[in-house]
């Protein structure tokens, strides 16, 4: 399997065999249910999905919170309604069928994984925080109240406009973010728990996608 859906629980630290302190994040992932398999082959009814992928579902929800179209979708897969559905592009899926589960055991301790999530919203931020500008750089030499200013916006009378894409202050965070190459430190399948090194995007309780 290419990955699973989980939930960020929070961070803590552990110490490795060299007594080194490692910050780590806990990800909770109940076995994900396969709800649909998409294939680029032409099926019996003469239709094709055009690509190979596996759709996984995670996190129980109540029947009455489920819309009828989705309820039918889950029923077809023979499972209870779930909150989060994610598709994983995946080629080798002969052995898979809807209703099967995929859990944290697809990873191994020592693996490197990528984690995708929605980063925490930071609100309206200036260019120093948002784009890593250095600000004007000093308080002296006649400067005042410009320390975190963006500086020049570009050329003047020609072209008499700001180029599109100019990095400015604005809303920051709340974007889909991927953190790559996090080491899997620990897996506890009976608790559906995955521990990865470092930090991952999102708040506690946020959905994250762990990719192999």
């Amino acid at each position: 399997m290419a990955g699973i859906i989980g939930k960020k629980i929070g961070m803590t630290n552990i110490f490795d065999e060299n007594r080194k302190h490692i910050a780590c994040t806990l990800i909770y992932a109940e076995p994900n249910v396969i709800t649909q398999i998409k294939t680029d082959k032409v099926r019996g009814n003469g239709k094709t999905d055009g690509y190979n992928a596996v759709q996984l579902a995670f996190d129980e929800k109540k029947e009455k919170q489920t819309t009828q179209p989705l309820a039918g979708h889950f029923e077809k897969a023979g499972t209870t309604p779930k909150r989060k559905l994610v598709e994983f592009v995946f080629d080798n899926m002969e052995a898979m069928k809807p209703g099967d589960t995929v859990g944290v055991e697809i990873f191994e301790e020592g693996d490197f994984v990528d984690v995708v999530g929605i980063s925490k919203g930071k609100g309206f931020q200036g260019v120093v925080k948002r784009h890593g500008f250095h600000g004007v750089g000093g308080r002296t030499h006649g400067q005042h109240n410009r320390e975190r200013a963006p500086g020049s916006m570009g050329p003047g009378s020609t072209p008499s406009r700001i180029y599109p894409g100019k990095r400015l202050a604005g809303r920051m965070g709340g974007d889909r973010t991927k953190v790559q190459n996090l080491r899997v430190l620990k897996i506890i399948p009976e608790k559906n728990l995955l521990v990865v090194s470092g930090s991952i995007p999102g708040h506690k309780g946020a959905y994250v996608i762990v990719e192999k």
Binding site: G10, N13, I14, L26, I188, L193
Partner: protein, 118 residues
């Protein structure tokens, strides 16, 4: 959810740490690796804060070394900390003693706590 964090932390928590708090004078025995040899170094000073909870808890020790203030932050549960010895209980009125940074000599003393607190 919270208990999952405790579950991961549990094997790393040490039970042999003495009870101490900001204001106490402590002696920390730190394991240090030099080349391929390991030895123990002592760091003695006043604990000026304890911070965090669970496996992430740390404490800061401040001492005056050669006339210069030195602070070192130790993770309370670090395996590198061989032993923590409490030398003196101090009577202080706050949890973070950052005001000690601005005091020198006699002003930086802390009254001893004689209440017999453990």
């Amino acid at each position: 959810m919270e208990d999952l964090i405790k579950l991961i932390e549990a094997p790393f928590l040490r039970k042999d740490t003495p009870s101490f708090r900001a204001g106490d004078t402590v002696n920390v025995y730190v394991k240090i690796i030099e080349g391929n040899k390991e030895r123990i170094q002592q760091f003695r000073g006043v604990c000026i804060q304890r911070k965090g909870a669970g496996a992430t808890e740390t404490f800061t020790v401040r001492k005056i070394s050669g006339g210069i203030g030195v602070e070192r932050i130790f993770p309370l549960h670090s395996p590198s900390v061989e032993k923590i010895e409490v030398l003196k209980r101090g009577r202080v009125r706050r949890a973070r003693l950052f005001y000690l940074r601005d005091k020198i000599g006699k002003d930086a003393r802390i009254r001893e706590d004689e209440s017999g607190r453990a």
